[in-house]
């Protein structure tokens, strides 16, 4: 009997996979602190006050029934939130109201003083409706109010539960909250009379709320509801900052397309060990944000290794799929809740200080996170970044010709590459496209043959610009080259030796094909050698300047992700055990001038990726471009 029990226990234990994490390089990557401004994740000097507002009649929430300082009218959300009649009936019975009488409930943290203070709304996502989510951002309320922001945690628990496709309703509710705040600010009396800076509004959302803030940003500028033009909009708030925490994407598609977002500062964060939204869906929203009005916007995406879905909300915690998540989610690899929230305080604080308080000293942290090594919890981060001055050279989305760039005047070429292809990128769960293409470049500088030490000329990939394009883009010393890149684990086989062209033997081709073995297939063995390559820029006169890519950021092989306790389920559910997130490198041309003073950036002719630091490897590259306005995101001194 005892033996049987031991056998059963062993069998069960064997199905639990060992903890697998990529070796942490943060002690070196985060060893610098170059921003000298105060840590935006630390409490400010202002006194924090709190209040509730709401319907005053809430059946379930005492704080929105008995403790409201300001009463609000209910709103009719029925065009946006639909449900089966029996579900609607049951919910109405549970909550005391239906979709036609949704309350505008919020808990507010605000600074003492005359203001005006920027207004920031944060909205939770889907969760157990009765495990109320809105108090879970209190730590952000305390932080932001002490730093001079009004933070409202919006109650949308009554939309939670088993509903689908209701993200537009969540978004519309946010805009209705903003209408209330505008009224309070415009009124001649009341606690917020003329204390709200309605020209600097931020909206933040978590999970489904993270998608909702993108939709709200889109609805804000529309005159009609896309799904029913009989519903008119008239919002037009000055929403300048949109922040998405581990958002979903595409659960609501206006007119069948992914929600277009334009002309806002946008930031998205996502944890690698998210047990709920297990792919970096926000990256797709990041990709499609466009800056079209010539104003100085930027967007950034942060992938946080070992962070999960729920620890950014103190109510949600580490059980990303309910109280029993521990049965199947491997919680051992997570960073602590305190670390995860320290991260969010730093980046949310920095983002809002930069975008709503106009504190430009925080901008460089979004270009290169290594400049705030002392503020960030010690884990690994992969970050994307783009500002509105970015001009694309090659985004690989426009055609199927691998030799042409995204604008006329750009040509692409390769030398000695084993792999050169343009292909779509997918999110980790495989079936979800990222809706962008990239170029995959693989190389192996070894020459096939008996001498295993024999190396050929380093492989390279070149982006060439015409003079007229360089002039049109106003490339100069203040400009920066952009590219986003991620190494993969693929490793092509050695390259074939160069053919001896001095011999003119008619049988040579046949002999050659006989004597040479077939090219071995690409290997995918795990290689832990650090990845680096050289960025070479060349001017019209042929002057070159070369710098290693690692000067501008840390290229990392894919980070191991094992969310589930059972390895078999992990393999079954996800085609890859990593998320391919490209790191953005913003490389000021002034750095190249410093390295090689004869190089003239005004006559930039080509940018070359020279694969000379690693004998063999593969990288995925996207969003190659130049910008003349990246300077405000650069610190003095580089990590």
């Amino acid at each position: 009997m005892r033996r049987s029990l031991i056998l059963v226990a062993l069998a069960a234990a064997a199905c639990t996979q060992a903890l697998k994490l990529t070796k942490d390089d943060s002690p070196t990557v985060l060893s610098h602190q170059l921003i000298t401004a105060p840590n935006p994740g630390e409490r400010g000097s202002m006194t924090v006050k709190t209040m509730y507002y709401g319907s005053g009649t809430d059946k379930r929430r005492a704080e929105f029934r008995d403790s409201v300082t300001l009463k609000t009218r209910t709103v009719d959300a029925s065009p946006f939130v639909s449900m089966e009649p029996d579900v609607a009936k049951s919910r109405e019975k549970d909550w005391g109201f239906g979709t036609s009488k949704f309350p505008l409930n919020g808990r507010v943290w605000y600074p003492e003083g005359s203001g005006p203070f920027p207004l920031v709304l944060i909205v939770h996502g889907n969760h157990d409706p009765l495990d109320y989510s809105d108090p879970g951002y209190g730590y952000l309320g305390e932080l932001l109010a002490s730093r001079g922001f009004i933070l409202v945690s919006v109650d949308e628990n009554f939309i939670n539960g088993g509903l689908r496709g209701e993200s537009d309703g969540r978004a519309w509710m946010l805009l209705k909250h903003l209408e209330v705040w505008k009224r309070w600010n415009d009124s001649s009396a009341g606690p917020f009379s003329h204390k709200v800076d309605m020209n600097n509004i931020g909206i933040m959302g978590h999970s489904r709320g993270g998608e909702a803030v993108g939709i709200a940003a889109a609805f804000n500028r529309l005159s009609h509801y896309p799904d029913d033009a009989n519903v008119k909009f008239n919002f037009n708030f000055n929403i300048k900052a949109v922040f998405a925490i581990a958002p979903v994407d595409g659960q609501y598609k206006p007119a069948g397309v992914f929600t277009p977002i334009e002309n806002v500062n946008y930031m998205v964060i996502h944890g690698s060990h998210d047990g709920d939204v297990s792919s970096f869906n926000g990256l797709r929203a990041y990709q499609r944000i466009k800056f079209t009005d010539g104003k100085p916007w930027f967007k950034t995406a942060w992938y946080v290794y070992r962070a999960n879905h729920g620890q950014w909300n103190t109510v949600w915690g580490n059980k990303d799929n309910g109280p029993r998540s521990g049965r199947y989610l491997d919680l051992r690899g997570l960073i602590t809740p305190e670390e995860q929230r320290q991260f969010s305080k730093v980046v949310i604080g920095g983002f809002l200080e930069a975008t709503l308080h106009g504190k430009a000293e925080y901008l460089p942290m979004f270009r290169d996170h290594r400049v705030i090594g002392a503020w960030l919890p010690k884990t690994m981060y992969i970050t994307r970044f783009q500002e509105s001055g970015f001009k694309p050279l090659a985004t690989f989305d426009e055609d199927v010709d691998v030799t042409t760039g995204s604008v006329p005047g750009v040509s692409l070429s390769a030398d000695s590459l084993a792999t050169w292809k343009e292909n779509p990128l997918n999110l980790r769960n495989g079936n979800d496209p990222l809706n962008t293409n990239a170029v995959t470049l693989g190389w192996n500088n070894h020459i096939r043959g008996d001498d295993t030490t024999k190396l050929g000329k380093p492989a390279s990939y070149t982006i060439t610009l015409t003079d007229s394009l360089t002039n049109a883009l106003h490339v100069g010393r203040e400009s920066a080259i952009y590219l986003s890149l991620a190494p993969t684990d693929a490793k092509p086989g050695p390259r074939a030796p160069a053919r001896d062209t001095t011999k003119r033997d008619s049988t040579a081709r046949r002999d050659s094909s006989r004597s040479q073995p077939r090219r071995p297939p690409a290997k995918t063995e795990k290689d832990t050698t650090p990845v680096d390559l050289t960025i070479e820029v060349v001017d019209a006169a042929g002057h070159t300047a070369r710098l290693p890519l690692t000067r501008f950021g840390k290229p990392r092989r894919p980070l191991d992700i094992h969310i589930l306790r059972r390895a078999d389920e992990e393999r079954q559910r996800y085609p890859t055990q990593y998320e391919l997130v490209l790191q953005t490198y913003v490389m000021p041309l002034s750095d190249f001038v410093q390295a090689s003073p004869s190089f003239d950036p005004m006559h930039l002719r080509s940018v070359r990726l020279v694969f000379d630091k690693l004998v063999a490897g593969t990288v995925v590259v996207d969003d190659i471009g130049v910008s003349g306005t990246a300077g405000r995101f650069v610190t003095t001194g580089e990590p």
């Binding site: 069960a12 199905c15 199947y328 589930l564 389920e569």
Partner: protein
């Protein structure tokens, strides 16, 4: 080991003497297979399966075939002389499910007695009996109600007689208040059995012998189909780290015998896909049964292994008026694949 068996037997048999013997059981019923368990999990919970979500729902309430999926097989060793087994499988059909299943038992008898009852499974003798039930069931959803029906072929064999019929089960069920399921079924709608009776001094042949106190033997020439109406409810909830499943039902066999029953299952999972469960049940015992059942289960992904234990006590009465009263444990083991 003997002590343990004795203890189990004692626990299972004590209430029988007080209640079962005094109860009225009505007319004798046939085929006997319809009075026997048909699944290890349900047996462990007092043989209550009116809202079961396993494929053995075919034998309790065909309406539940809408949500039941998979295949199961179970085997029960009633005694050294009697054993039985059940096979069933359900698959998706339209907006519900379709199932096939078979339940059979073979046993020994000291005489050529008809009909047998659950207590007969403990007897030994030269006469061999078998009983068989083969069912085909289908269920669909109609206006949020699950409605199902099963047609079955039933058969009883004793050395000198072979009786077979077609019978029908009907059922309906639905979920309510989020966590609860209500089920109603009417089973074994079919003809009764009539057999000519011939008597000799040594045995009862082709005669229907009702259970009852010794010395009160009357001879009948027919046995009723055990037309059974059942209403029951079930719920499953999370209780801390445990999964609780509880079910209760009241059955009435024709108008003669009202049998409440119920069971509880407490499950624990330490890793997704792996769980263990302990089960217990109680029932108003039919002749030959005892009131309490227990069991356990082990689940690995789609595979489950179940065990159930019930007590049986002989209630056959012979011409010489003697009866054995010792209770024996019957073991049932099942395999389910969902």
């Amino acid at each position: 080991m003997h002590l343990r068996r004795a203890a189990i037997a004692a626990v299972l048999s004590v209430p029988v003497t007080a209640t079962a013997q005094a109860a009225r059981y009505g007319q004798p019923y046939a085929p006997v297979v319809l009075l026997l368990p048909s699944g290890a999990r349900t047996l462990a919970m007092g043989n209550t399966g009116i809202v079961s979500r396993d494929d053995e729902a075919l034998f309790f309430n065909p309406a539940q075939l809408v949500i039941a999926r998979g295949f199961s097989a179970s085997y029960e060793r009633y005694s050294s002389t009697a054993q039985g087994g059940t096979l069933s499988a359900v698959t998706r059909f339209n907006n519900g499910g379709i199932a096939v299943g078979m339940n059979t038992v073979s046993y020994e008898l000291p005489n050529d007695i008809f009909p047998a009852n659950p207590g007969s499974m403990l007897l030994a003798g030269p006469a061999l009996g078998t009983s068989l039930e083969a069912s085909v069931g289908v269920a669909q959803v109609f206006r949020r109600h699950r409605i199902g029906a099963a047609v079955k072929y039933v058969e009883d064999n004793v050395p000198s007689a072979r009786v077979s019929h077609l019978a029908l089960d009907l059922g309906v069920s639905r979920d309510f208040l989020r966590y609860y399921t209500l089920g109603i079924s009417v089973q074994n709608i079919g003809p009764s059995t009539t057999i000519p009776c011939s008597f000799n001094a040594q045995s009862v042949t082709h005669c229907v012998v009702p259970p009852g106190p010794p010395g009160n033997v009357e001879l009948f020439t027919h046995a009723n189909m055990p037309l059974q109406s059942t209403i029951g409810v079930g719920t499953s909830r999370a209780v801390g780290d445990l999964d609780l499943l509880a079910t209760a039902a009241v059955s009435m066999i024709r108008t003669d015998f009202v049998a409440p029953s119920g069971g509880v299952e407490l499950g624990y999972s330490w890793l997704d896909g792996y769980s263990i469960a302990l089960r217990g049940g109680a029932r108003r015992p039919f002749p030959g049964e005892t009131p309490f059942t227990v069991g356990a289960g082990f689940n690995v992904d789609r595979l489950s292994i179940d065990y159930a234990l019930e007590g049986l006590r002989p209630t056959e009465f012979f011409l010489n008026g003697t009866s054995r009263v010792s209770t024996r444990a019957a073991h049932r083991i099942g395999l389910r694949i969902r």
